[in-house]
């Protein structure tokens, strides 16, 4: 009888071990190195693009074959960490630029510094390069980035008697223009709102950075939240909200979420902050909407038109089998040719400076105008980097700002409390 038990157990063990045994190295039958490349680009527009880039790379040389694995946005980084823990990570992955330092400090990415020289470093925008380095070593190469700009409705400008070629350049002008562009309807609601600082893609944190002349909520790895300029930014938003009526603001926000059409395209809001890829949406759904694009207004005449941005990087997860081959592929993806292709077709801002220049030469019409503007905006774009010591700071700050904007506590109290809470959360 025991024999039976033995056989059953042996069978189970065999099944279990079969599950865990992977090939020891990544070379395939033809002696080429095989790389597994994880992205979350599965959409109709992006998937063919990344696959074309991969195909071009595979055809360009005969040592490395890259295979694309699509992992949905919600899963990709969790799965990546699980795979790193299991010792079988992908060879290359696209990841968030704001958290490279966290992964570097947790030993989750390979150090690239031995393959990096000054030429490579100088081919990227400096603020992106800062984001991918930790303790003077590079842990990723930047791939794309973005920057928020102000899209404005030229027809609405004309109707309000404003010059459609002169977008607002300062906070003062923004408010003045918005007042002129705001139209009430018969029953007390709004036919059109000129602008409201907490809608669109440029909200509380962004305006705080804009007000503080490009200084973030975290500087040098330490919280800098309750500065006078940042308090002023929230106060400014609070006053604006009171003027429009907080109920009206909430109601409209709720409706934006339910409507099929974007509030800027439908003419509900005359000025709207978005990233460059908004152009694709305007092109597809905007009809004959006559619009312009500008850099975000500056705090006053003496400060710069600070915007904010994010982006994605290419990195090699810790424990990848062929880091050198992975690096070759990453270099290709971040080099001029691939970057130009990606930027031109996708309207993402790209990390490579030379490629950005080429794109502006290749584009024409509205696309060129927007891309040109985004390059201007990139000069003063702040990239919020999550410091490893305070991974949660946004979750602590946001509810207090909400409370301040809802008038529950004063702006002063809210930001002082936020500063204190974040300081206490150091890990």
């Amino acid at each position: 009888m025991k024999k039976w038990l033995l056989i059953v157990c042996a069978g189970l063990l065999a099944v279990l071990s079969a599950c865990s045994s992977g090939s020891a190295d990544n070379t395939n039958a033809e002696g080429k190195v095989e790389l597994d490349f994880w992205t979350f680009w599965g959409s109709e527009t992006r998937r063919p693009m990344i696959e074309k880039l991969i195909e071009d790379f595979n055809n360009s040389q005969d040592e490395i074959v890259v295979k694309h694995t699509y992992v949905p946005w919600g899963d990709i980084w969790t799965k990546n960490l699980a795979a790193i823990a299991a010792g079988d990570p992908p060879d290359v992955i696209v990841n968030d630029i704001r958290t490279v330092k966290i992964r570097a400090s947790n030993n989750q990415v390979e150090d690239m510094s031995k393959w990096v020289d000054d030429d490579l470093k100088d081919s990227f925008y400096p603020h992106l390069w800062d984001a991918v380095t930790y303790k003077d070593k590079a842990y990723a190469l930047p791939f794309t980035t973005d920057t928020r700009m102000l899209f404005y409705n030229k027809d609405a400008f004309r109707e309000a008697g404003l010059d459609p070629e002169k977008p607002p350049r300062t906070w003062e002008e923004l408010k003045e223009y918005s007042d002129k562009l705001t139209v009430k309807n018969a029953d007390g609601g709004y036919e059109q709102v000129g602008y409201y600082p907490n809608w669109g893609n440029f909200t509380t944190h962004d305006w705080m950075i804009n007000a503080d002349d490009g200084k973030g909520l975290m500087e040098g790895g330490e919280p800098t939240i309750n500065t006078p300029a940042k308090k002023e930014a929230i106060q400014w938003m609070y006053d604006w909200k009171q003027e429009l009526g907080s109920e009206a603001v909430q109601n409209m926000k709720a409706e934006f979420g339910n409507e099929q059409q974007d509030p800027f395209i439908s003419g509900k809001v005359a000025m709207w902050a978005e990233i460059g890829t908004f152009y694709k949406q305007l092109e597809e759904f905007g009809g004959d909407l006559d619009y312009g694009v500008a850099t975000m207004p500056a705090y006053n005449e003496d400060t710069k038109p600070w915007s904010t941005g994010g982006g994605f990087v290419m990195e090699i997860p810790k424990g990848a089998k062929n880091p050198e081959a992975s690096m070759k592929f990453i270099k290709y993806l971040t080099d001029v040719e691939a970057q130009t292709y990606w930027g031109e077709n996708n309207f993402d801002n790209i990390a490579n400076k030379e490629a950005t220049k080429q794109i502006t030469e290749n584009l024409d019409g509205k696309g060129a105008e927007i891309f040109q503007k985004s390059m201007e905006s990139l000069e003063y774009t702040y990239l919020s980097i999550t410091p490893p010591e305070y991974p949660e700071y946004e979750n602590l700050v946001n509810p207090l700002i909400d409370d301040a904007l809802n008038g529950k506590i004063s702006v002063e109290e809210a930001l002082d409390q936020a500063q204190k809470d974040v300081e206490n959360s150091e890990q």
Partner: protein, 297 residues
Amino acid sequence: MSLKENIWGYIFIAPWIIGFLGLTLGPLLFSLVTSFTDYNVTSQMNFTGFDNYKRMFTMDPLFWTSLYNTVYFVVFSVPLTTAGAVIVAMLLNQKMKGIKIFRTIYYLPAVLSGVAVYFLWMQLLSPSTGLVNTVLAWFGIDGPAWLFEPEWTKPALVMMKMWSVGGGMLLYLAVMQGVPKAMYEAAELDGAGSIRKFFHITLPMITPIIFFDMVTSTIGAFQIFQEAYVMTDSGEGGPSNSLLFYNLHMWNNAFEIFNMGYASAMAWVLFIIVMILTFLHFKLSKKWVYYESGDQK
């Protein structure tokens, strides 16, 4: 002979045992160990003693916010849904034409699945065009911006939960129909009206199911997560963190910033809270639950 039978027995239940050890008990113990470390999914797993627990109770303001939000939700949603289910079941426990159609209608919401329902409710609760506020406006009430005002977000969710009392209703309906007719007849002979019959016959007879329903729905309510994750901007906990529930905070720690040690500690604290509450439920149940067949020990 009996040894041989035992071995065969174990072989037959082996799939379950392996599943239990590998997929339930193993991870459970792992998370207990993890809760005393700074585990972050990849390399590090240093023993840190009670640091995670200390941080939770003394340094993390969001822990208290999330616990408050969750307890608030449990305190309001459990009694309301239970009472709602009993009342609906009572109304549907009548003999009249077409009652089956009504039973089906009231049960329908319980069939619809999660995320789609949340999206539906986001439309219903929309401040100026939503159905809820439109109906309130007929009575001259200016409805709030449900999901956007911190004071109204949790009541909105409790109200949403009321919509799906159909599941509990079905249980109550079944047990109500099992109450012996003789009791009602005897009560009628003594001149009892329908309210008296409900409080003195129906309600005591269905207390075991009420008890079961309360225990399971308390546990379920503590686990509230998806509603907040789906119905708030980028799943961050709603305005002023008014929808940051315990599990959402735990999830953020585990899968947003990969602080698994802390998240595991949170999970164990929740487990202990729910254990204590369930224990109290059982203790208190002796005072109000009636078992027809005598003491159920």
